[in-house]
Symmetry: C2
Subunit: 678 residues, 2 copies
């Protein structure tokens, strides 16, 4: 007779294998190998399937997202909003059980995973957020937050650089609330890990400052797994890596080979597996009653735990009304009332400043007014200007460098890790609006995390300074050319390139209010004037007519960021030559596209040739302009002023191209690029 | 009296400091700290400034590229094609001394560095290439290749994930020809590395399988540095990391602080430095004669070494005429004569195949015919189909898994590391044409390396399979949407998306013949028919009219890859409705843009509305089309066929949009998008 635990594990395995088989697509190997650990971990986790967003739940992150049949099986067994019928739709269009876990589609999926290495880095972010939240609100007599984050990861996750970056930082930050299980099954897609991955992982993680625990038999030794978790929880100053030695596809005729990794098991193999578990080999998606009850008990216990926590919160609100109200506001996803009045506003009389400096002004203005607005930089604090005056660093108190309720994160030179960690902080909940700074060009290092921010609807903010050839001497290795095209082509991503102080404030206003999309804010190194005609309200439309040369101008110049003021200069040049020009500032395509057709058409109407001006690739600009002043090559090292001249971004050079544009379109019928056939 | 070595080191330091000062921009800290190690290393390196591409030279890679004033000073002192006048133009537009080292601009700069972490990964690639070259051509009695690669890296490089990936692989591959110096100065831009970087680096590198040597005083202990190099060279099966403890800005009044990292020294500080070295504090760019002579001696010795090597090569050619001819051919940068005749050619009678499979056919056909055509996959060999039948893995012989003359590299799940390593292999020389496979979506993980391939003119090849929603069930985390827009916006990058077998052969033909640009070849998971009208010659134009519906069609459908055959189907649908359509296949924008205006205009003429069809973002397509069938959202998990239907990529759905397009433009004057005002 198998024990109830063994029965439960066989049930998880059976559901996972049947789901993959029904889809005739998916990954049965990891679920078979990891079911015992999943069972043991979930059996002691704190969560409520009826309230999957409860802030003090323990979180589970499946970093090896291809093993999602395992996760979906758990969600079904613990009675999240997912059923056996959903498992039958595994990997089918519009199901709640897509081929990799998507947090936006399935309750109980904490973060969207699949791209390897991201999940463990998300888990680091969740752990940071939990520490920060706990340190901010826990009181000596009342603990509001004490949850753990568990993550499963495979060899692939460990090979990815993004996990190295995040793991090194997790060690530095002493995140003892993070418990990671390495599925050490010695198999990856290319076969035995001996072909490419022979490093000593435990030693590497010890070098990062982690606690490493070994479980020699992850296939059957449930006690060892449970003890490892217990031991991990004793850690006071280190995250824990549990090395779980397993057999991929445990029990399958192909166990221990990569044949079982990414292809459904054969029908006969499934039958022998089920026979081995004592199940009817013909029955599919079988859930023994005693297993259902066993998990239901755990849920019932957990619901009690949540009830108690709610009583604690009520008590907290009474005893600490100010903090209590703040916690409630954050749990409700509301920003502090009137927060926007802190946003700086400028007039043309204000002095020219770099938009990175104007961004610092916003951060300074908001610091202290929005406690959930936290952030950091990938070792470019003094260049990104991301640290609010007087803010405290998020650091282990023992370092003497800060505290866990600090709001400023020193990410180190780890852009990709930072991006994935930011996603984790957002995923924690509690309304965190978190930002990370680096040079615009190096946001590309984090492309893998950035697209997941957009796919997962995380409202994270990239403070992306040094946004063009205007950075000057550092040269082409640091100067973005393709970068904005890349980001603008990502669905659900705001890409702001503000032209002055009011537009910077608008970019932050939109980015902080967002609940469903990330934002990149591209900022200059060099000074820009405060523009006549710019307002926060105008910029919040994503694009607007800044200079109205006439009701029916000869040309429209549309520009972003540092090229807006140059285009204003070009319009003045053109005026001297009897040519009227409107100047349109278009700080964010994504926001502009959401405006009404009539509004957009009023900005970019028929009958006028439109010339766009931006110091990088023209790629994608035909969406809004007929002609482009741009840079379709790599940049160069030199003084910013020299580069602007060299690449033809002066009022005179632009005016010259405007004249050519006006002449070219003379006598032709000109249609707005906004109008489309379907 | 300072020793000649001390004098030389002071000279390096002086030149670097003066260059930064002349530019009033740059990084003096690292050159001051690293000058002693640079001097010791270069004094024993094998290279010839008169012949900087000599294949058996030792290579030096400055991974912390911001320290380039150090590198330029060395190049001046060793009399590469760089002078004090060039140093005076440091960081100025069009100088040979840009703000970060650029291999395309300056003889003696091995690879373009600056983006942190890349250089050390490039060095791993160089080491791989050297091992492969040596194992392929060295004979028991004649050694043609035995060079080392040295690299300097800072804390920033060590924090980046790309260096972790490459370092782990270097350990696995036992690259004992790689010697890395970690400039352990405990300072990064955010200040003390204690704020973010407290891991135990030596332990981590030991865990990777490296040899770690400590030099406690890198500021003055020249003997210890020299001994460390000697010891490193004794390693038979491990790369070496030399931990070099230095003081950033050594000797400056600001030494040991981040104030000395990225800003020029004050005039007074420079004076006191020079005084300390026994130099005239007012003299700039001072090179004592004895230092010039000292370095000249080393160069003279090295030139003798190269002469001897040339004699060895001559002897080799006599004794091993076949290999000798091959070596010479490769050194001349010529591909084997007639190699292109091996490229597979197809007719519509051939069966439908996935383009990834057609790519495998090319790789199989070229394997053995082009010895310098080597490559691998980031742990997706069975999916990318990148391994030629019967090829040997590049592995340390002791593993029993392959040999150093193997041509197939098991990169592990390390896309960014792979990208940077590929750049290093290309940088080694000997005509290496190397490729790396992963899913198209995960080439984005390597965005940082990819843009450097393009900037540095490395003809590397990405075999990017599973190139769209056509991959099916893996879902949106794996399905590229923005990816082609991103890559097409990168200057100097070919982005092929072939539609059938002939186009796949064309993509490889162009990619392998390239000497100055990298290529991404996007390939399907799903089968595609062999098209009527496709030929290698046609495809080599980057775009061509595949189906000529009429001389003056009602509409042109322009598509790439898997959407070409669907568009052919749409044209047939349209014909039934009395609408004539041309179908244009546009497999590579970059190549198409290089064709004559007349040719391009013949493909995309005036007077016909053009509808583009591609299963991803429309961003950038307005460059060639008036209207777009595209996907401007993330994909979905489901069967490929279901997804194509759901997203409207069937002949019928496209025909419907084509009809709308024809109607929309009826009566309007339609201009080719190719025509521009300037």
């Amino acid at each position: 007779m198998p024990s109830i635990d063994e029965l439960a594990i066989s049930t998880i395995r059976g559901l996972a294998v049947d789901a993959v088989s029904a889809a005739n697509s998916g990954h049965p190997g990891a679920p078979l190998g990891l079911a015992p650990a999943a069972h043991v971990v979930w059996k002691q986790m704190k969560f409520n399937p009826q309230d999957p967003n409860w802030i003090n739940r323990d979180r589970f992150v499946l970093s090896n997202g291809h093993a999602c049949a395992l996760l979906y099986s758990l969600l079904v067994l613990f009675k999240y909003d997912l059923t056996v019928d959903d498992l039958k739709q595994f990997r089918q269009l519009n199901s709640k059980t897509p081929g990799h876990p998507e947090a936006t589609d399935t309750a109980g999926v904490e973060v969207t995973t699949g791209p390897l290495g991201q999940g463990i880095a998300n888990a680091v972010g969740i752990a940071i957020a939990q520490k920060q939240f706990a340190a901010t609100y826990n009181k000596p007599d009342i603990t509001l937050s004490d949850s753990y984050v568990y993550t499963f990861l495979g060899d692939g996750c460990l090979m990815e650089g993004v996990s190295s970056e995040a793991s090194s930082l997790a060690g530095h930050l002493q995140l003892n609330n993070l418990i990671a299980f390495w599925d050490d099954n010695r198999i990856s897609i290319d076969g035995d890990t001996a072909v490419a991955f022979t490093e000593n992982v435990p030693e590497r993680y010890r070098a990062y400052g982690w606690n490493v625990i070994e479980v020699k038999d992850g296939n059957t030794d449930l006690e060892a797994i449970a003890n490892a978790v217990k031991e991990a929880k004793k850690s006071t100053d280190k995250p824990t890596l549990i090395r779980l030695v397993t057999t991929i596809g445990y029990g399958s005729l192909q166990q221990g080979t990569h044949g079982v990794h990414g292809s459904p098991l054969k029908a006969d193999d499934i039958k022998q597996l089920k026979k081995g578990w004592g199940f009817d080999p013909e029955a599919k998606f079988f859930i023994p009653n005693e297993v259902a009850e066993y998990y239901a008990e755990h849920v019932a216990e957990n619901q009690k735990v949540q009830k108690e926590w709610e009583a604690t919160l009520a008590q907290y609100k009474q005893k600490y009304p100010k903090e209590g109200a703040e916690v409630q506001r954050r749990l409700d996803g509301k920003l502090p009332e009137g927060w926007k009045k802190h946003l700086p506003v400028y007039t043309p009389a204000d002095k020219p400043l770099a938009t990175r400096k104007l961004s610092e002004n916003v951060i300074n203005a908001l610091h202290g007014n929005i406690p959930e607005f936290i952030g950091g930089s990938a070792d470019l604090t003094g260049s990104n200007l991301t640290r609010a005056e007087g803010s405290v660093d998020f650091q282990p108190p023992s370092t003497g460098l800060g505290a866990y309720d600090g709001v400023y994160i020193r990410y180190g030179v780890r852009e990709h890790g930072m991006g994935a960690i930011m996603n984790g902080i957002a995923a924690f909940g509690a309304n965190y609006k978190n930002y990370g700074g680096t040079f615009l060009n190096f946001v590309s290092y984090a492309a893998g995390a950035l697209r997941l921010s957009a796919l997962s609807h995380h409202p994270v903010i990239w403070v992306a300074t040094h946004d063009s050839i205007g950075l000057g001497e550092d040269g082409p290795t640091h100067q973005p050319i393709e970068t904005l095209a890349h980001f603008r082509a990502i669905p659900n991503l705001s890409v702001w390139r503000p032209a002055d102080g009011n537009e910077v404030s608008a970019a932050y206003a939109a980015a902080i209010e967002s609940t469903s999309h990330p934002s990149v804010i591209a900022l200059t190194r060099q000074n820009l004037p405060q523009l006549e005609g710019s307002t926060i309200e105008n910029a919040l439309k994503g694009g607007y007519t800044l200079v109205k040369g006439s009701d029916k101008p000869d040309i429209i110049l549309v520009a972003t960021g540092s090229e807006v003021s140059i285009s204003v200069g070009a319009a003045e040049e053109l005026k001297k030559q009897g040519i009227t020009a409107n100047v349109v500032s278009l700080p964010d395509f994504f926001t502009f596209d959401k405006q009404s057709y009539d509004y957009r058409k009023s900005v970019l109407p028929d009958g006028v040739p439109i010339l766009s001006v931006e110091v990088m690739s023209s790629f994608g600009w035909s969406k809004y302009s007929h002609e482009q002043v741009s840079i379709n090559r790599f940049g160069a090292s030199g003084k910013a002023g020299d580069l602007y001249k060299f690449f033809g971004f002066t009022p005179e050079a632009i005016a010259e191209k405007a004249v050519k544009t006006v002449n070219f379109y003379k006598g032709k019928e000109v249609f707005s690029p906004l109008d489309k056939a379907f």
